[in-house]
């Protein structure tokens, strides 16, 4: 999602720099030509060199992968991209977790951070990893040519083997690794020396993700499964409000629980920590604590229902506050002055919770002197976990040993700058001088949830004499997510603009000459985070619903209206036509429950059609079918793209229909899956996904369909029942209110 701010040229330079640094480092530091790229058994260990690739004489090719694996598959896709240009045999490849070193492993498409988020992993690493794979292959070819005394131009590779056709000689990569020397500088690879798509052996061909079999036999390991000798278990009773702490603690009953080892009032508003010999003892003792909390000046008075009305008033301009400019084209909102007709629409979205299936937890083992620590946690940013551990304990980053594990879901929850889920384990381990695994219950996970912000949107559109849409003014009021989640980026590269709330308001592929989107940011005291689809989910509910309203108002078919708006973007038109074809859009009967939505998501073109049924008595909406056409650029792992899109639709369906966090007097009202209702198999529509072929660079997949679902459903309701639903989740009560005349079009 940050690609826009990084020019292509810098990607290329960085790619070369990575290669050159690895190679020259090996020479300078070690004095022999092995290690950076090719590392026989006698060479220094990879951890010393931090290489991307290690080839052993036995043929094993170890490739570093800096992605966190939370089910999205990029931990497998990154090495596969490198292996493609290296022309490695995939069965020889071993995927190794890259250590937290952003200098070497940071994502050039994500501000150079080791941060798996924003569907930016394959997108960001694709070009550099191809380049680097090709460089390694060139070094191998040069070594084979030297060995045989032939021109490198006479050589070719088959997977894992260099072949000299004239003499029929063959050398495996492993054999070459046993005698190879590295050049003093990384070889130059011209773009036309990379493989053409028709030469791909791995990209575009499905492989099984490296960790998938372990998820079928139970052997997959998440941080909740980590067992360290001498480890104790921790539970936290956390403050009701983000900025309050314990005022009085009565722990008499808690200390009487068998197995309790210690109870601590922790700093930084972390709460009260219980350490025990078993998880159950820790939970039991936590429940027996009697704690009163200090009041929170900000969060303590917060009420989400009342605040929503205020947010809506802000977006209407009824409450004076400085707007932050997010995006502007042409004359911006000034275009409204010359419009012959205007139309306005308002939309609202409630707070939503990530609900990753693994409740947050972490293991920390602080040394007895408090000067170093070893950590295990499922994080979307290995480097951030190291930084957070160092700053929490007041030690150097070099004193933090990070152990990577699988993530039981992420969806944005595991990426805050403070890595909140790690802090309790660090503090308790330091207190008790033993390794501690801190477990959050599901109730803790919601109570300490960091939510997708609440938002209120107002859009005003201007049309010219011919009825063309010429001006678009979108005003968004939300809690300030970026400032809460990631002050480092907010005050740094984001330039105090809440990118996480505003992305998705820009409409670059629609030919609307005058556009303006701006933000009213609220510092509400509510805990916040990115959530799958980030700002797109709320913003596209608003924009794609409003595009539909505009089309219906003018009596134009919503598909034809969008095709006209996207007239300058062939890839956008292609996904719209594809999804129209899949759903037989143009043959649909009038009044059938079909609704369309289209998104340009960081370059990925995606369109969806929802077919719904609605119970007019209960107000329940049922999604029967959802068709998606997606063009994500080069389809690196097609079946995984389909899987991610299916999952993304299911996630979006929950946001659209049922998922809602409410806050009263500063307290989260929901506590488990009985009152935070996510989609189950009984809610599943028939999901049809078509990948629209494209040879553009990969632009991301993992969350692109999520924001399609709510507007497509809202548009389907408009078509079916003639009413406009303006508030997600589209709960039965809201549907009934609309049907009873609350929101006639």
């Amino acid at each position: 999602m940050l690609r826009r701010s990084i020019p292509e040229a810098r990607l290329t330079r960085r790619a070369l720099m990575i290669g050159a640094a690895g190679l020259s480092f090996a020479f300078v530091e070690r004095g022999f030509g092995l290690g950076g790229v090719i590392s026989p058994a006698s060479a220094a260990s990879p951890t010393t060199f931090n290489p991307w690739v290690t080839i052993s004489p036995d043929g094993l090719i170890s490739i570093m992968s800096p992605a966190a694996e939370m089910g999205q598959g990029s931990k497998t896709s990154l090495p596969l991209i490198l292996a493609e240009e290296l022309d490695a045999d995939w069965k020889d490849v071993r995927i190794v977790a890259a250590p937290p070193n952003e200098e070497i492993y940071g994502n050039p498409g994500f501000l150079g951070m080791m941060y798996t988020a924003g569907s930016a992993t394959v997108a960001g690493y694709y070009a550099p990893l191809r380049q680097f794979g090709a460089q390694v292959r060139r070094v191998i070819l040069d070594n084979a040519a030297r060995k045989w005394g032939v021109a490198v131009s006479e050589l070719r590779t088959e997977p894992g083997v260099v072949v000299h056709d004239k003499t029929g000689r063959r050398l495996s990569y492993g054999e070459i690794a046993s005698f190879a020397v590295l050049p003093p500088t990384a070889p130059q690879i011209n773009p036309d020396e990379l493989k053409r798509p028709d030469q791909f052996r791995l990209i575009g061909k499905d492989v099984t993700r490296f960790e998938l079999p372990t998820k079928v036999d139970g052997s997959a390991r998440y941080s909740i499964d980590i067992e360290v000798p001498g480890m104790l278990y921790g539970a936290l009773l956390t403050p009701v409000f983000p900025d309050s702490r314990a005022k009085t603690i009565d722990d008499t009953a808690a200390r009487a629980v068998r197995g309790v080892v210690g109870i601590y009032d922790l700093p930084n508003g972390v709460g009260v920590g219980v350490v025990a010999e078993t998880p159950w003892a820790a939970f039991t003792a936590k429940d027996a604590l009697r704690v009163s909390w200090t009041q929170s000046p900000k969060a303590g008075a917060f009420d989400s229902d009342a605040s929503m009305d205020r947010y809506a008033a802000m977006s209407r301009g009824e409450i004076s506050q400085q707007a932050t400019l997010w995006d502007k084209a042409g004359d911006g909102a000034d275009g409204l002055k010359t419009a012959t007709e205007t139309l306005t629409g308002e939309y609202r979205c409630d707070y939503a919770y990530h609900a990753q299936m693994e409740p947050l937890n972490a293991v920390a083992s602080v040394s007895a002197d408090g000067g170093s620590v070893e950590i295990w946690c499922g994080t979307q940013s290995q480097a951030m976990a190291v930084k957070a551990a160092a700053s929490t304990l007041g030690i150097e980053r070099s004193k933090v040993k990070f152990n990577e594990v699988l993530l039981g879901g992420g969806f944005g929850r595991r990426g805050p700058q403070d890595q909140d889920f790690l802090v309790g384990a660090l503090l308790l381990s330091r207190e008790i001088k033993r390794p501690v695994k801190v477990l959050w219950t599901r109730e803790d996970d919601i109570r300490n949830g960091r939510f997708r912000p609440m938002s209120a949107h107002r859009i005003e559109a201007g049309f010219d004499r011919e009825g063309a849409l010429t001006t678009w003014h979108h005003r968004v009021t939300t809690d300030n997510v970026s400032m809460f989640q990631d002050p480092g980026r907010y005050y740094g590269p984001f330039k105090q603009r809440d990118m996480l709330s505003l992305l998705g308001t820009e409409l670059p592929t629609y030919a609307i000459p005058n556009r303006l989107s701006e933000h009213f940011a609220v510092d509400s005291g509510v805990r916040l985070a990115s959530l799958r689809g980030i700002g797109f989910t709320a913003n596209k509910f608003a924009t794609e619903s409003f595009v539909d309203e505009s089309a219906r108002k003018r009596g134009i078919d919503p598909l034809e209206f969008r095709l006209s708006l996207a007239r300058n973007v062939p890839r956008a038109r292609a996904v719209l036509e594809a999804v129209a074809d899949m759903s037989n859009w143009r043959q649909r009967r009038p009044g059938s429950g079909y609704g369309l939505a289209y998104i340009d998501y960081s370059g990925t073109q995606i369109a969806g059609v929802a077919e719904i049924a609605m119970d007019r008595t209960s107000g329940e909406i049922r999604l029967k079918t959802f068709w998606v056409a997606i063009d994500p650029g080069v389809a690196v792992q097609p079946d995984n793209i389909v899987a991610q899109t299916e999952g993304s639709v299911v996630y979006g369906l929950g946001m659209a229909l049922s998922e809602q966090i409410t806050i009263k007097d500063g307290e989260i009202q929901q506590s488990n899956f009985y009152d935070y209702t996510v989609m189950r198999m009984r809610d599943l529509p028939d999901i049809q996904v078509r990948i629209v072929p494209s040879d553009g660079r990969p632009t991301g997949v993992g969350q692109m369909a999520t924001p399609l679902v709510a507007p497509a459903i809202s548009n389907a309701v408009a078509e079916l029942a003639g009413v406009r639903l303006r508030h997600t989740p589209m709960l039965p009560s809201r549907v009934l209110a609309a049907l009873n005349g609350g929101a006639r079009q």
Binding site: L212, P279, W280, M357, E358, G408, E646, G647, Y674, M681
Partner: protein, 151 residues
Amino acid sequence: MIVHFTVNGSPAEADAPPETPLLWVLREHLKLPGTRFGCGAGLCGACMVHIDGDRAFSCQTQLSGVEGRAVTTIEGLSKDSTHPVQKAWLKEQVPQCGYCQSGQIMSAAALLQHSPHPSRDEIVDYMSAHICRCGTYPRILRAIERASREG
């Protein structure tokens, strides 16, 4: 309280307060972490195991309730992922984050044990005890139909 039962065909015993959920006994006392903690309230199914051949939420089963009974966990469903449900899971490439999948697989195996050729409605009804936040439901459905077909 010391409780004796069998886990994956072998005798097991655990010394813990009688109300301790079987889930934590399996995970922490018996070192079988493939059974997952998701909600602690019988709402998500990540903790699903078999007790005497029927599926059971191990987070809702007290240790005292398994005296003398036979518990099967994901680790004991087959030695090498050769149970028909596991084979189908691999063929359909079901898991994403994978955290809920042990429980999903245990339920699917229990369903097919009792009803070798379930209708789609039966599958949906039975499997709706579970939550998969990654949204792998289409593939779970296909995998169960495949396992039913291929046995």
